[in-house]
């Protein structure tokens, strides 16, 4: 700890770069998960049984299997059937599909909280079911689920550490390479933990800002 500033100069840029990687993966993963979650939640209300069952299977499979196995399936499994993805892309897809199942359950809960009359009054004015969903129902659902969706985003952020196992140079893997040459696991894992704390705290602040912005509707 004597030469803290020297050490910071040596390892700082690497940690910064790894943090950016984590940040990038998280943002992209959240985007994928919202798309998957929304599609799955709406599919569960489809008129077609096959569509409902597909969505049900997706949620059941994802929630019932370990995230790490899902990551391995995408990165190590898919090449066997000819789909080869770079680690970063495979990681985003795997974590996005994973988180999507949880987002789907959150959205489903939000949808049931909206009264039938909200849809009816829009339909009665001549809105299509799709427009009703997009402009009347989902904006209300979003406000309701914001706290749960924040929790899910924080889980996603922390899950990015799993991608160290498929050679994505994010914080955990970067720290491991340093530890391998310095034999100082304690300091470097602490550093990783602190950076994660910082990132999750920022995410929480953003979410509570959004919540406050949308909360004063009456």
């Amino acid at each position: 700890m004597v030469n803290f500033f020297d050490e910071f100069k040596i390892y700082g840029p690497g940690f910064l770069e790894a943090s950016w990687t984590v940040f990038g993966i998280t943002i992209l993963t959240i985007a994928v998960s919202w798309v998957c979650g929304l599609v799955a939640a709406l599919a569960q209300r489809s008129d077609w049984k096959a569509v409902r069952m597909a969505a049900g299977f997706y949620i059941w499979f994802i929630r019932g299997t370990p995230t790490l196995i899902q990551v391995f399936l995408i990165y190590f499994g898919l090449p066997q059937i000819g789909i080869r993805l770079d680690p970063f892309t495979a990681g985003v897809i795997a974590l996005g599909i994973n988180s999507g199942a949880y987002v789907a359950e959150i959205v489903r809960g939000g949808l049931t909280a909206i009264q039938r009359g909200q849809t009816e009054s829009a339909l009665a004015l001549g809105f299509s079911p799709a427009e009703t969903m997009r402009t009347i129902i989902l904006p209300q659902v979003f406000r309701i689920i914001l706290p749960s969706i924040t929790n899910e985003a924080i889980s996603t952020l922390k899950n990015t550490s799993l991608l160290s196992t498929i050679t994505v140079v994010e914080l955990t893997l970067y720290a491991q390479t340093l530890i391998a040459s310095t034999f100082r696991p304690f300091e470097f894992y602490i550093a990783v933990a602190v950076i994660y704390l910082l990132l999750t705290t920022i995410l929480t602040f953003v979410a509570s800002w959004l919540e406050r912005r949308y909360a004063n509707l009456g």
Partner: protein
């Protein structure tokens, strides 16, 4: 009578084994105010909701402003989704539970449909909405969210929201039933002024006095059919025994309610 604005023939609707509408026919001329009364479960609300196809009937025919529908599922005239939207855009509906959109201000509630569906320029939609809100006395509340409004105010905004689409026909489904008694009046006054302006209206209501004073015609629903129909005079001199009983029961409930209320107040004093 010139060509009716709305024609319904042999409308039938069941929920499972329960046949709610057993072949109801009705013609409404432009400018008419038709009140629909009847006990709960008589099919009157379902009938109203089938006019803008919020409930799609199992069979029956309908004509409205150039649209002709045959509700038998195999029919060539079964309404397409686009036709349903076109119908609903021209038929305004107001619900018992207001159903304003809580994430939009009063003004946004009123302008949302004209902007999106009539492709009206924003400035024009806003101007027209403000004129409507002035008319219903809620111009000052235009930037408030619905949760800040009383039930009566919310219901008046819901009426303005429907009027913003310039409907040819307005449907009112027990619009005062959820309101506190002291808030009923302001909504009825607004509806009466619409009727006076010549708006064609169909209303399901328990407000017998309002039906008597404002409507041009009264329908009494009983067990899925129109059991008696005529001028508001039938509310004074009902012909059928069923309507007599219904009116008696309503009147009796009112009196009993008033008596229990006044005796309650007496006990407190």
């Amino acid at each position: 009578m010139s060509d009716p604005l709305l024609k319904l023939r042999e409308i039938r609707k069941s929920f499972g084994d329960n046949e709610v509408l057993k072949g109801v026919s009705l013609e409404v001329a432009a400018g008419e105010v038709v009140s629909i009364i009847g006990a709960s479960g008589s099919g009157k609300s379902t009938f109203l909701r089938s006019i803008n196809a919020l409930e799609v009937p199992q069979s029956g025919f309908m004509e409205f402003e150039g649209l002709s529908f045959d509700f038998r599922p195999e029919s060539r005239l079964f309404p397409t989704p686009a036709q349903l939207q076109s119908l609903r855009a021209r038929v305004g509906m107001v619900f018992q539970s207001y159903n304003l959109w809580p994430h939009m201000t009063v003004l946004e509630n009123v302008t949302h449909a004209p902007i999106r569906l009539l492709k009206m320029p924003r400035a024009q939609a806003r101007e027209e909405a403000e004129a409507l809100l002035s008319r219903i006395g809620l111009y000052e509340k235009r930037h408030s969210y619905p949760a800040r409004l009383s039930g009566g105010q919310q219901q008046r905004v819901a009426i303005a929201r429907a009027l913003a689409m310039k409907p040819r026909l307005m449907l009112f489904d027990e619009v005062t039933s959820a309101l506190d008694p002291e808030l009923v009046h302001e909504v009825l006054v607004l509806m009466a002024s619409l009727a006076a302006d010549g708006m064609t209206m169909l209303l399901v209501t328990h407000e017998i006095a309002f039906a008597r004073d404002v409507s041009s015609r009264v329908l009494f629903f009983d067990k899925g059919v129109i059991a008696e129909e005529g001028s508001p005079e039938i509310l004074r001199n009902p012909e059928s025994e069923r309507l007599q009983q219904f009116l008696h029961r309503i009147l009796h409930d009112r009196v009993a309610h008033a008596v229990s209320k006044s005796s309650g107040e007496g006990a407190q004093a």
